[in-house]
């Protein structure tokens, strides 16, 4: 298991390098000029100097390793500096955003909590709803509950977040006036009232995201439970005289959860991607919204860094899922 993990970790390095190169070369084609917004009164030679300072116009075989160095060496060292108060990164160039002329990672760190709050809560809520639905649907296959559940998950599967988001805004915020339609990220929680306000503004984005995740997870949970319910060991357990509750909730559930856990792990990075649209609908200024504005403003270092972070998350969670599968299911041996 350990050797497998190490091998996979080592293998993911070239994959990630290649992905970052692909993203870099794609962005290299971009027509934008970071100096486009600089006033026309600035003389051309000054503009040229500013371009040079931002590292624009260098050939890719110089600029790309530079970005790699900044991302993998300077940024982590800067983080260590910030934590322990050391000064290793004195005078080192960090990855600079063309939009704001400030380090990309600083902006990412500012935006991360908003995304994590909304997406994280949605994910937890979705898991809490999806698992019981999946279990009960499978246990009572083709009952009215199962049929209704299948229909609801199909709907959740098919309705895109930009529509379900808009519908909940129209219903809950325009007609009923229960929740605010815009997520206020400057809001701080310091007492009960502000906590309630925070909860209120989180309800709708969480609802939209959770609907999507729940539909995928509960379908998966149901299929996995159905696979296990017909196994011989279930009949054995019943024949031994175990109660129905023990059979389903202990024997079947634990075996059915194995693939579901890995699906949950694989789904985490795609949630960040899906949150791009939800953040846009509810005006949450998180990572997804940052990416959209960066793309529109031709802020290449920002786009490159964010896209690469997404790629890292995907590769990392795929690895975690594979390892979890091996740990949870002793029949699976990778070596």
């Amino acid at each position: 298991m350990l050797t497998y993990t190490i091998r996979r970790l080592i293998l993911s390095v070239p994959t990630l390098l290649f992905i970052s190169l692909v993203i870099y070369l794609l962005l290299e084609l971009a027509p934008g000029d970071p100096m486009a917004q600089v006033p026309l009164t600035v003389p051309p030679e000054v503009k040229e100097k500013m371009r040079e300072a931002l590292g624009v116009g260098q050939p890719w075989y110089i600029a790309f390793p530079k970005w790699l160095y900044q991302f993998f060496v300077v940024e982590p060292m800067y983080l260590i500096d910030a934590i322990f108060g050391t000064t290793m990164t004195e005078g080192e160039q960090r990855v600079i955003s063309w939009q704001t002329r400030s380090p990309v990672m600083d902006i990412v760190v500012q935006r991360l909590p908003q995304t994590l709050w909304v997406v994280g809560v949605a994910y937890v809520v979705a898991i809490a709803i999806a698992l019981p639905i999946g279990i009960y649907s499978a246990y009572r296959q083709y009952s009215w509950f199962d049929n209704a559940g299948t229909f609801v998950t199909m709907v959740g599967f098919s309705v895109p977040p930009f529509f379900s988001g808009v519908v909940v805004i129209v219903v809950f915020s325009v007609w009923l006036g229960w929740f605010p339609s815009i997520y206020d990220t400057t809001h701080e929680v310091d007492d009960w009232d502000s906590f309630v306000k925070q909860l209120k503004q989180m309800v709708m984005p969480v609802m939209v995201l959770a609907l999507q995740i729940t539909s995928q997870l509960s379908r998966f949970m149901r299929a996995s439970m159905l696979d296990n319910l017909n196994q011989d060991y279930v009949r054995t357990a019943r024949a031994k005289g175990l109660g129905e509750k023990t059979v389903v909730m202990v024997h079947v559930l634990r075996n059915s959860l194995i693939p579901v856990v890995t699906v949950i792990a694989i789904g985490i990075p795609s949630i960040f991607g899906g949150a791009i649209i939800t953040e846009q609908v509810f005006k949450v200024n998180g990572i997804g919204q940052l990416l959209i504005t960066a793309i529109q403003a031709n802020d290449l270092p920002m786009v490159q860094t964010l896209t690469f972070i997404f790629a890292v998350l995907i590769v990392l969670f795929n690895l975690i899922a594979d390892i979890l599968y091996g740990i949870l299911d002793p029949r699976i041996r990778y070596d």
Partner: protein, 318 residues
């Protein structure tokens, strides 16, 4: 594929059924899939024939008739500005919403179909090549893994921004965007098909009929087209159906984020995006296109579900 054995002793009670008759019988038993196919047929027919029957030009401006509400608004609001000449209302420039929905649907469905065809062709090609030729397997599957690890939505957005102007200059704003979106969606959604097809081809290769075909000297090209492809048709059909749903959703997501078709060129996603700013006053302008997207995708998904059951011989006939 399988010829019924001739046995003189046994009188056949019924004429032999073809495989597709069995598939159809199983598909009919799936109620959701039947309702969904009917709904899908209605949507497709409406979108194809509708513009001829409903003769209003979707791009025609009529400022005097702007901001009309749907006809049923009268039920709860007697003063609403409604009229039978615009049953679903008009937008802020007086363009008829029904006509825009119908012509937008044509583009959305066309994008969905074209992207699905591209993705299925790519996926099948890569899957068959990887499954049949051992020396291609490693590299093609690494490529598939790589594509699966790419953060697709951000890259799609970037790619639209990069190539939109260039393609628009060559093929015109509509044609260029159409080609761009179809290509992008197709190129980023073939991976599942490729994996499934490869797995099936690997399993088929071990079967006796393939050995028999090889022993009489069938060339690899004939092998693939005559023996392998017909046998992997069912997973391909299922992923083709589901591929339409993905393509429609992706196109409308791109349009919704403002990276889709040019402004006065309605698709369902574009209509939704344009109406979001004023949805508090005119919620119907958001609801209708969104409902069309959702209904289409929902019925396509149900049809795919039914097809998967119908094409699976282990489920069929139970």
């Amino acid at each position: 594929m399988t010829e019924p054995l001739s046995m003189d002793a046994v009188e056949p009670t019924a004429p032999p059924k073809s495989q597709w008759a069995d598939v159809w019988a199983q598909f009919k038993a799936h109620r959701g899939a039947m309702i969904a196919s009917a709904l899908l047929a209605v949507i497709v027919a409406a979108v194809l024939i509708g513009p001829w029957l409903w003769g209003i030009d979707p791009t025609k401006l009529d400022i005097r008739a702007k901001d009309m509400r749907p006809i049923f608004t009268v039920l709860w609001d007697g003063d609403a500005k409604v009229g039978w000449n615009h049953p679903l209302g008009t937008d802020n420039l007086g363009r008829d919403l029904l006509a825009r929905l119908l012509s937008g649907g044509q583009i959305s469905l066309a994008v969905g179909m074209a992207a699905m065809v591209l993705s299925v062709v790519l996926g099948t090609l890569i899957g068959v090549l990887a499954g049949y030729f051992k020396f291609l397997d490693g590299i093609l599957m690494r490529l598939t893994d790589l594509f699966l690890a790419l953060p697709l939505l951000p890259l799609l957005l970037v790619a639209v921004l990069l190539f939109r102007d260039r393609l628009s200059a060559t093929f015109g704003p509509e044609g260029g965007t159409f080609i761009l979106i179809v290509t992008l969606v197709g190129v980023t959604s073939w991976m599942q098909t490729a994996r499934i097809v490869r797995g099936d081809v690997l399993a088929l290769k071990e079967r006796e009929f393939i050995l028999a075909a090889r022993s009489i000297g069938t060339s690899p090209a004939k092998m693939i087209t005559r023996h392998l492809l017909p046998n992997v048709m069912s997973p391909i059909m299922v992923s083709a159906t589901l591929g339409i749903a993905t393509a429609i959703i992706t196109e409308s997501a791109l349009s919704f984020l403002g990276f889709g078709f040019p402004p006065d060129f309605p698709t369902w996603g574009k209509l939704l995006f344009d109406s979001v700013d004023r949805m508090e006053l005119y919620p119907e302008r958001v609801i209708w296109p969104g409902l069309m997207i959702s209904l289409t995708v929902l019925s396509v998904n149900y049809v795919g579900d039914g097809l998967r059951d119908a094409l699976d011989p282990r489920i069929r006939g139970r």
